[in-house]
């Protein structure tokens, strides 16, 4: 039946190292968002592998389902949880990371030793499988609806369980009557918190984005004017520089006009 074509080999040797590095980056990244993006990269690369190995359906499903839907859901979840709720990266068991790495490397060596032994000279049955029902997708359909029909149907139970579980764990039913806007505003005055809208971020000649706090009359920065999420992420700028820069510019101007 044929060997691996040159094109496939070239593609593999270019993409495989990238995929492995990206997979390591998934584990190694400190920020969850970065991990998710590396994961997306791994999945797109996998889709390309599937595509060159004559499995077009899997390649498309990989892109649409995993990269498209699952990864975006991951990112949504990260956004909902909020970037400021960070994981503690302190090891609770000493030497755990080293031990895990050693175990991982050991497992990898074992797998390489085992699978490297396999005879991979020829493809076995690929063309037959892809042409049995007239194509790749048709072949898969035939398998799903005959040989694996029971497994396919049993997955329905898994999906219902997943939906039900999400409802049980996350759906909070309203207790009592839902407050309307009037009641909410009365509530806000009763509680005695801030009743006005929060101050807007600072607008300066050189910078007017949301990461720049406004100045209070006494010249200090107003913490309320920037989002606490940005503050937690360490992305808030200090207005001092802008103020100082403007002041120095004004001083320059003043000097110029006087002379």
């Amino acid at each position: 039946m044929g060997n691996t074509s040159n094109g496939e080999a070239v593609l593999f040797w270019i993409l495989a190292p990238i995929t492995v590095l990206a997979a390591l980056a998934v584990v190694g990244s400190k920020k969850a968002v970065h991990s998710a993006l590396w994961m997306a990269m791994v999945m797109v690369n996998l889709a390309m592998f599937f595509a060159v190995q004559s499995a077009p359906f899997l390649a498309v499903a990989q892109v649409v389902v995993y990269t498209g839907a699952v990864m975006i859901l991951f990112l949504f979840v990260l956004m909902l949880i909020g970037v400021d709720s960070s994981d503690s990266l302190v090891e609770t068991i000493r030497g755990q990371r080293i031990a895990a790495m050693l175990a991982g490397i050991g497992f990898g060596v074992l797998m390489i030793a085992g699978i490297g032994n396999a005879s991979v000279d020829d493809f076995n049955g690929l063309t037959a499988a892809n042409s049995a029902q007239g194509g790749n997708v048709e072949g898969l359909a035939a398998l799903i609806f005959t040989r694996y029909v029971f497994a396919f149907e049993a997955i329905g139970a898994l999906l219902i369980t997943a939906a039900l579980g999400a409802m049980v764990l996350a759906h909070r039913e309203e207790i009592g009557e839902k407050l309307n806007q009037k009641a909410l505003s009365i509530q806000r005055f009763k509680d005695g918190g801030i009743v006005t809208p929060l101050p807007a971020p600072g607008v300066y000649a050189r910078h007017n984005a949301v990461d720049m706090p406004a100045l209070l009359p006494d010249g200090t920065a107003s913490e309320l004017s920037v989002s606490p999420v940005l503050r937690a992420r360490g992305d808030v700028l200090e207005p001092d520089d802008s103020v100082a820069a403007e002041a120095s510019q004004r001083a320059q101007l003043g000097k110029g006009s006087s002379s």
Binding site: L110, M111, A113, G114, I115, N117, A118, S119, N124, G125, Q133, G134, E138, A141, A142, F145, T146, R147, Y148, V149, F150, A151, A154, I155, G156, A157, L158, I160, T161, A162, L164, G165, M167, V168, L169, A170, H171, R172, E173, I175
Partner: protein, 524 residues
């Protein structure tokens, strides 16, 4: 209108044996109906509707299992041998015996889940933050999270497929179907909710990890045999000698996934934490039914699919069985919490059951099935009794609080003592019959070292079981210690069923032993 082109080949419709599969289909159908009950019935009626629905469904499925066994015995004096659903499900003696066991344990579990008088074991609303005002309010309103019933039914459905799966792909799907609801149920305790949620998360993460191993094993075996069907794998194993590496690694990875589910030693770490944190009825169900299903799958994979490679996996299982028995018994000695103690005891029991599995003969198969039945009922009753011993803050699981319990509530403490004696394998209890069956099967297969280790660890185990009995009956009661709460009828029924089966299988085991003997058939 789309018309098929003449050249297109039509896929022949699959042949589904609905009758043989109906126990599974009934349980899943009831699960779906139970979800609809959640969606459309007002809160006040849900609990009773769920109870009626689940019990009816489980009993109906059990009746079908009995009829299937019966019919086959009438026809050919043997158990049915049929591969259903295009060869994906093997309906044979072991399948029917274990399905019957799981369904009966499921009935008992539903009875336990239905406990209301003790305030219930499940959170009023699992979505509320522990300790929040919303949690207090929902608890005050007397809400119950009745979604536990459909979740339990889906889990039971998965367990019914797991030992019957004749194809590794279906087995993996069944593993997930049975595990996912259990992960959820573990996190729904009413009291000590953070501990319960931690248990659920641990179980989920470790379970997902072990599923990955299982899947990797399937992939490698597919690479070896070119099929995931057990009969094809068997043919490949017995037919060829080359490229054993794939077979060996695949087999080992498959064993990791399955041994994780039964809680055998290198993969037992989740057991104590999850058993302790989960709501007690869920712990009871997990300890009993999950073991049955997982051992069923283990038996099928290694007897049917990998039977030809027996000499490759045999030594590994010997080692695992020995270590599991010894480790479980020794670590249980130093436990101070009753639930943790029973968790380690369940690890030790997994080892004893493995002794039956490594016998690799019909006797071993029948002994293993009998052990699973006997242990399932004893353990479900033991956890039910633990849920009755309570003080002001809920269950009193610390061993020191159990001191002198026998003087205050002799009946309950007596039943617990009986169950502990069954765990220890004292004659006239089901535990003795089961251990005897397993050891004699192993002896006939030349497993004398295993038996020596087994008897040794039984002795160690007997020590800590009897220590609890001594503590309950012969030490002074602690002041303001826990009381035995009066449960509602359902829990009482569950305890009585468990105790009755334990005694019955100890005194008159023959009919059930015969049943297991007749059922020790595997087909592929």
């Amino acid at each position: 209108m789309i018309r098929l082109a003449a050249s297109e080949t039509l896929i022949p419709a699959p042949n589904i044996e609905y009758y043989e599969l109906s126990p599974i289909l009934i349980v899943f159908g009831v699960g779906v109906l139970a979800v609809l009950v959640e969606a459309f019935l007002p809160r006040a009626h849900r609990l009773h509707a769920q109870l009626a629905l689940c019990l009816t469904g489980l009993v109906a499925a059990f009746v079908v299992v009995c009829t299937l066994t019966d019919e086959a015995q009438e026809n050919a004096r043997a158990v049915p041998q049929k591969v259903a659903a295009e060869g994906a499900v093997a309906i044979d003696g072991m399948t029917l015996f274990l399905q019957g066991t799981i369904l009966l344990l499921g009935v008992v579990a539903v009875l336990l889940l239905a406990e209301r008088r003790l305030g219930g074991e499940f959170a009023a609303s699992a979505a509320t933050v522990p300790g929040s005002a919303a949690e207090k309010e929902t608890t005050r309103l007397g809400w119950v999270q009745t979604e536990i019933y459909p979740l339990l039914m889906f889990s039971i459905g998965g367990m019914l497929i797991f030992p019957a799966a004749n194809d590794l792909l279906l087995m993996f799907v069944a593993l997930e179907v049975l595990s996912l609801p259990l992960y959820l149920l573990c996190g729904l305790a009413r009291r000590r909710r953070l501990l319960s949620q931690e248990a659920a998360l641990k179980y989920f993460l470790l379970g997902a990890f072990s599923s990955a191993f299982f899947l990797y094993g399937i992939a490698l075996l597919y690479g070896y045999a070119g099929s995931v069907r057990l009969s094809d794998i068997n043919a490949a194993v017995s037919g060829s000698e080359d490229n054993d590496a794939l077979l060996l690694i695949g087999m080992a990875l498959l064993a990791v996934g399955l041994l994780f589910k039964v809680g055998a030693v290198p993969f037992h770490a989740w057991t104590p934490d999850v058993y302790q944190g989960a709501p007690t009825p869920v712990t009871a169900f997990m300890a009993a039914a999950t073991k049955v299903a997982a051992f069923g799958a283990l038996l099928r994979v290694f007897y049917v699919g990998l039977g030809g490679a027996k000499w490759d996996w045999h030594p590994m299982f010997w080692g695992v069985a020995m270590v599991t028995m010894l480790f479980g018994s020794l670590v249980a000695l130093v436990q101070t919490d009753v639930k943790r103690m029973l968790a380690y005891s369940s690890i030790a029991h997994a080892g004893f059951i493995l002794v039956g599995l490594v016998a690799t003969n019909a006797e071993g198969l029948s002994a293993t099935m009998f052990y699973l039945l006997a242990y399932g009922f004893s353990t479900i009753a033991a956890f039910a009794i633990i849920s009755l011993v309570r003080d002001g803050s809920g269950e009193a699981t610390h061993l020191s609080q159990w001191a002198g319990l026998g003087r205050r509530s002799p009946v309950v403490a007596g039943m617990f003592a009986l169950l502990l004696l069954a765990f220890a394998g004292i004659p006239l209890t089901s535990g003795f019959t089961a251990k005897f069956a397993v050891f004699s099967a192993s002896a006939s297969a030349g497993g004398t070292p295993l038996i020596v280790v087994g008897v040794l660890s039984s002795t160690v185990a007997a020590f800590f079981y009897i220590r609890v009995i001594v503590l309950m009956f012969f030490s002074a009661p602690v002041t303001d210690g826990p009381r035995v709460a009066v449960p509602s009828l359902t829990t009482a029924l569950a305890v009585w069923i468990g105790v009755a089966v334990t005694v019955f299988l100890g005194v008159l085991p023959q009919p059930v032993l015969d049943l297991a003997d007749n059922a020790s058939f595997l087909i592929s």
